[in-house]
Symmetry: C2
Subunit: 422 residues, 2 copies
């Protein structure tokens, strides 16, 4: 009898705007192998669904359903953050066996790669014949080997459009310093992507400068004195500042006050709190020397939170394509007998952006984090280089289109005004 | 000599995604009156620009410039939050006189209407012939008389797309309660607009329900017990909850801890802090009774902050049209001799949305706030009625298009799993 059976799709960890594109890619390609992949099942809420035998039959959904769902953010199958315990591994193989599961597509980040490895080791112990492929997915873009991670391009598009507009909003006021805290615990890929906003501007005043003006990345040592000095220099130059900070900076401030709960993989919760932004705003209010003839200092902090990965209708086309590609190629690879690997994206050389896929060993990915290379960080360590733009622009797929007035001032006629304090 | 002179445009208060559309409308219509409106000047940073004689000549910009700037968020002329003091009024008329200003377009909210009134009273005292029209602008949608305020439609579109995606993100997890704090100090129009997300869903499971599930408005008394009871009931029904809270709820909690700085008009700063969301999340974590077999309670809070009014490329078309219309009609009205009024939008009866303009006395607008009528709030006081949807849907201009899977579960074969604690 040939190797055949059911396939299982597991969506894991934080959802992205395009996680369902990978699912759609799997569904689309699996139709090419009707005699090998008998059915495609979905684990309802990731490993939780496997443990509790909550499985969904995906095979009879119409292809139009997948098109619609692929364009929606959130994990359509439900996600989970569960690290399999020893007792869980027994159960997982009971369920695999009961439902004839021979192919597993694990769609997640480096924690999911670790879980996939644990399942593989258990399969070896049991001599259970199964093929497991990991499909990269994380807005953090921090998986090793692959050129980029599906999910990142959309968040890059979202945060750059947000910061582009926010910088114009900030520019509307005098003496205005705006801090935006974005996701990124260990790696600064998301914070760096806000710099794409700088590529969208034209017509701005010569003495002005488009934001974000300062970007702080977890890859760089965060020093409050340097931070304040950077902000002061920016204020002195253009009278305002738009600042982006990766949430991971909180770790460097060494304060428990910024961290919340910890999940089963040991990750502390940083995103759902305004504390880091409030702390930095307080620092600036206490220390910035500003020109009070333009009014009070206006310092505001926003924490962008979960919407970064989920605004409806804002996915990047390149990102959607990448996510679909790793899903469909995952099926073709697994049909060629591949297992215990992650599908990677490989950027082709040349002027025009193009990615193909390849495979890498799961061990190279599990529990590892790809940081931004030094060559993508500017020498002042508060921004990015052209190398980063070359890397990230095609992934975001579009730059925000915004314009500002280049004012022609009228000649003054009167004496200067000194505004009385009352 | 006929009444003729220069026109002055003042952008005031918080910017919106379409504030520059009104400016473009003024620039476009003023071209029809070259012998009456000699030049159009812009006040650089609102009243600050008037006081310090920082005026911009807008007349020689090409019409294409206005098209580009109209589509960009932020106040292109610069904004300010200045309440004119007595000494300022002298200076304002020195500047008006020096620059032959005979027509003023004051684009702002109810605070700007108050400032416009003070300027009018001073003009009367001085017998300075000037015509002043107020053009409505506020994301808060809380100006009296007008059907809606330019700026609101775009924020309604933005927050509904954010909450639609956020609800799918939240739906990806078990036991997940998500709180989103949106703008709206006295009126709940923005919070209510998130309900538009409910109109975008299809294909969702029968026992499920699209979010936002609970919306708390400043118009309604906020009671922590009722809040917790609502959340518990929602959790018991669908195992999760997506909650929206207007920032103004903080006032009702009677805690100084939520408020920040106060501006010249006496408005406390609420938006730039995660404190209210953190407080409510803490309440829920402490009190919600949940099913721990699905894992820990996941409770997160985001404060949407300034991005609500400024995401590049997300303006509502209806909103852009409304903003342009009040600008251009403002010019036509002022040329007909109108003064001391606000341009209002009047919705025409009929199936299809259509607005024309009219005028109302400034006194009806200044310092007043239009709250949501009781008929747009549901009887449980935690959501909206169809009347609200009829009102708001055309303003947002589009509903988020998102889809979720309606799972077909596989029949279970095994005994129930009891997960050991280690």
């Amino acid at each position: 009898m040939p190797f055949q059976g059911n396939a299982l799709v597991i969506q894991s960890g934080g959802p992205t705007a395009v996680i369902n594109q990978s699912l759609a890619g799997i569904m689309n390609a699996s139709r090419d192998y009707p005699n090998v992949i008998l059915k495609v099942l979905g684990a309802y809420h990731g490993l939780h669904g496997v443990l509790y035998e909550n499985l969904i039959d995906l095979s009879h959904e119409e292809s139009n359903t997948w098109k619609l769902i692929a364009n929606s953010p959130g994990a359509a199958l439900g996600s989970a953050r569960i690290k399999p315990r020893n007792s869980d591994l027994d159960r997982i193989f009971e369920v695999f066996s009961a439902h004839n599961i021979k192919f597993v597509f694990y769609n997640g980040g480096n924690d999911s790669a670790e879980a996939a490895q644990l399942i593989r080791e258990e399969a070896n112990r049991r001599q259970y014949a199964i093929r497991i492929l990991h499909l990269p997915k994380t807005i953090d873009n921090d998986l090793m080997v692959t050129d980029h991670c599906p999910g990142y391009g959309s968040v890059a598009k979202v945060v750059s459009h947000i910061i582009a507009g926010d910088d114009l909003d900030n520019r509307s006021f005098f003496n205005s310093v705006k801090i935006n805290v974005v996701m990124g615990r260990h790696a600064g890929w998301i914070a760096a992507a806000t710099a794409i906003a700088k590529k969208g501007h034209i017509d701005i005043e010569d003495h002005d400068e488009v934001g974000p003006h300062l970007i702080y990345l977890p890859e760089v040592e965060f020093n409050e004195k340097k931070f304040l000095n950077d902000v002061q220099k920016t204020y002195n130059r253009i009278g305002r500042a738009t600042i982006v900070v990766a949430e991971g900076i909180a770790d460097q401030l060494g304060e428990e006050k910024f961290a919340g709960e910890v999940d089963e993989f040991g990750n502390a919760l940083l995103s759902s709190s305004g504390k880091l932004g409030d702390y930095l705003a307080h620092l600036i209010k206490k220390n910035l020397v500003y020109n009070s003839s333009f009014g009070k200092l206006r310092c505001r902090a926003d924490t962008l939170g979960y919407l970064q990965r989920s605004i409806a209708g804002m996915a990047s086309q390149t990102d959607q394509d990448s996510a679909f590609l790793v899903g469909s190629m995952g099926v073709h690879y697994i049909m060629q007998g591949e297992t215990d690997k992650m599908v990677t994206l490989v950027r082709m050389p040349g002027q025009t952006y193009k990615c193909e896929t390849s495979l890498c060993d799961l061990k190279l990915v599990a529990q590892k984090t790809k940081l931004m290379p030094r060559s993508m960080i500017n020498k002042d360590e508060n921004g990015v280089t052209e190398e980063f733009f070359n890397y990230a622009l095609p992934l975001a797929g579009s730059v925000p289109e915004i314009h500002a007035l280049k004012p022609q001032y009228i000649k003054k006629i009167l004496l200067d005004y000194v505004r009385p304090s009352k």
